[in-house]
């Protein structure tokens, strides 16, 4: 244990003196919260403004005065479409639907015919979707009103047309709807666990090889596992500090979010932050061990960075797994590091009940995997090809 402690103290001092590294890590972790929440808040209030405006863009409103009248009567704002609206729709500078009544709109309407109205939009612009839906709904309600008037004129009750009325009952709570968008919050927290202590993890492994200090270090009467555990403890302390700072940043930013919808959507009080920490810390302990193990293969800092980047790529991809699988919260998720953490964090954000199994199982998986990484790394340090080849 004396050896572990000596390694821990030395590596901690070394890491603290690496001012540039920790300044960057600190800045990034403190900026993560405000950045994520400002983006979310802007996104949501952008949606709200457009939907609230109930704006309908019409090409040549003079072709369809009846429609324009109706829209103005129910409080929608009618805007004439710019002549280059097709290009602007594609490029996203116009994020709405353009309603295009034909030139003989009024004549055909008067004759009681069915008139086709084109509604042009680009579905690939995500922000446009709710606005487009509003425009389409307004045109359809015009259709309904006109149809009802025609039936009444012929003495038929419009109720006959309504054989079935659909009542939408959305089971998702307000929080659950918000959490779809809030995927970015646990994802950002997970990324901080992966990247937060990366430079320290590389410095205590590949850095030792690059400096040529590994060979003399191993000539000391200390078992390789003591070196590995002492170094790992420093990386864990470092990444724990960064994860906690990031979470504090999340809470602090939430206080400054003025958007009421977002405030209603996000459950991120002290209780949630505590759960986030409980979920993330074992994961970041695993990331520390895994990054160290892989970085040990690097003869230099640079080489190690290349190897380690594959890990962060794998974690980023694994974040997509639940998105592509239609089954939410499958039991196996909890057994897979990063997928398990994401799915539990999403539960927390959605305000769902999180049981002991949701916290314990992924944590135990992470800690067991971390132990395996450390064991493998201690074996690596006894390998001559690792000890004696330098960058």
């Amino acid at each position: 244990m004396k050896g572990v402690w000596a390694v821990f103290i030395k590596e901690l001092r070394d890491a603290v003196r690496d001012r540039r590294s920790w300044t960057i890590a600190l800045t990034l972790s403190m900026a993560a919260g405000p950045l994520v929440f400002v983006l979310l808040s802007n996104f949501i209030s952008g949606l709200e403004e457009r939907v609230a405006e109930r704006e309908v863009v019409i090409e040549a409103p003079s072709h369809a005065p009846t429609l324009v009248n109706y829209l103005q009567r129910i409080g929608a704002k009618v805007v004439e479409a710019p002549p280059d609206h097709l290009e602007r729709l594609r490029s996203g500078s116009l994020q709405n639907a353009v309603v295009r009544p034909p030139a003989d709109f009024e004549d055909r309407l008067a004759r009681g015919e069915t008139v086709e109205i084109e509604v042009v939009y680009d579905e690939s612009h995500e922000k446009a979707q709710p606005v487009v839906a509003t425009a389409v709904r307004l045109v359809e309600s015009f259709n309904r009103e006109l149809g009802q008037q025609r039936l009444l004129a012929r003495g038929v009750s419009p109720r006959l047309l309504v054989a079935v009325q659909v009542q939408n009952v959305n089971l998702a709570s307000t929080q659950a709807r918000g959490a779809r968008l809030l995927f970015i919050v646990p994802w950002a927290a997970l990324m901080v666990s992966v990247f937060g202590a990366l430079s320290v993890a590389i410095d205590v492994t590949a850095g030792e090889r690059e400096r040529g200090s590994l060979e003399p270090l191993l000539a000391n009467p200390v078992d390789a596992w003591q070196l590995v555990v002492g170094k790992w403890a420093v990386v864990v302390v470092y990444s724990t500090a960064i994860v906690l700072l990031t979470l504090l940043g999340f809470v602090a930013s939430m206080r400054f979010v003025s958007n009421e919808t977002l405030q209603a959507l996000v459950q991120l009080q002290w209780r949630e932050v505590l759960l986030f920490a409980v979920v993330l810390l074992p994961f970041s302990a695993l990331m520390a061990a895994l990054n160290m193990l892989v970085a040990t293969y690097g003869r230099s800092f640079k080489e190690a960075q290349t190897y380690v980047s594959y890990i962060s790529m794998a974690v980023q991809f694994s974040a997509l797994v639940p998105v592509f699988l239609t089954v939410r919260d499958a039991a196996w998720h909890l057994w897979v590091p990063s997928v398990g953490q994401l799915s539990v964090l999403m539960k927390v954000l959605r305000g769902e009940a999180v049981g002991a199994a949701h916290l314990l199982l992924p944590a135990l998986v992470c800690l067991a995997a971390a132990a395996a990484c450390l064991w493998l790394q201690a074996r690596l340090l006894r390998r001559e090809s690792i000890v004696f080849s330098r960058g």
Binding site: P216, L217, N220, P221
Partner: protein, 251 residues
């Protein structure tokens, strides 16, 4: 006392698509007594560094045995390390730590008490003339300054045995003198010192006993005078050339 008995070590190297077995050490045997400085003299690639790595328990020999203070290096490497100071081929320092902190780290790994550490550090700083270096961070140290720190950290647990790989490599005259002063001091205290070199001139100045190694084999051992005599009475360099030529003819 350090003893090497018929040491052998092979490496597998890649050659094109295939593999090739290289013999770094074929048959090295020698005895280094306490209270003496023993030099391993040989050309580059003779197997000196590999031999010293085996003694320092950093590599396992494929054949033969080595004992440091009577303890087999493969049987109990921890006990060997505890009584051995090593200046290895790689002698990297931690550049964000001061010289004193670099040395204190190794003292902690050896479990040296703080009081012993400070008194030994003061003694070595004086012998190596490095007092002014102690509290500077080692970033940007010269080769000589780095060697002094590396040597001090290898000696901080006051080991009975000392193994130095090319200690004079890249040193200027003043640093070489400081090194010699330290080695003589350690010898006078009865320590067993083994160092490797390929430089003929420093061998006579630094060592009591010389082991000539080439192509992974021990060719001869003895004092400088004995080797000169065996080589036909010329200079040590003539003796060395004659010995290695004979071994090449035999191989």
């Amino acid at each position: 006392m350090i003893e090497a008995d018929a040491l052998g070590k092979q490496f597998v190297a890649r050659r094109g698509r295939g593999r090739e077995v290289l013999t770094a050490v074929a048959d090295v045997s020698f005895r280094a007594a306490d209270g003496a400085v023993t030099a391993l003299l040989g050309p580059n690639g003779a197997g000196k560094t590999t031999t010293l790595r085996i003694l320092a328990t950093l590599m396992r020999p494929d054949s033969g045995t080595a004992r440091v203070g009577g303890i087999d290096v493969t049987a109990d490497p921890m006990a060997v390390r505890a009584q051995l100071g090593v200046l290895s081929d790689a002698r990297g320092l931690y550049t964000r730590l001061s010289a004193r902190e670099n040395i204190a780290y190794y003292a902690d790994l050896h479990g040296v008490a703080a009081a012993d550490r400070e008194s030994r550090l003061a003694e070595m700083a004086q012998l190596l003339d490095m007092d002014h270096l102690l509290d500077r961070r080692t970033e940007g140290f010269s080769t000589g300054e780095r060697m002094k720190v590396a040597l001090a950290r290898a000696l901080i647990h006051d080991p009975q045995h000392l193994v130095l790989d090319e200690p004079t490599l890249g040193l200027d005259v003043m640093s070489t003198r400081a090194l010699r002063k330290l080695l003589l001091h350690l010898r006078s205290r009865g320590k067993c010192i083994v160092f490797s070199t390929h430089i003929m001139q420093e061998v006579e100045a630094l060592s009591d006993s010389i082991v000539v190694v080439a192509h992974g084999r021990t060719l001869a051992a003895g004092s400088a005078a004995e080797l000169r005599h065996a080589g036909g009475g010329g200079s040590l360099e003539d003796a060395f050339v004659a010995l290695t030529a004979a071994s090449e003819a035999a191989a």
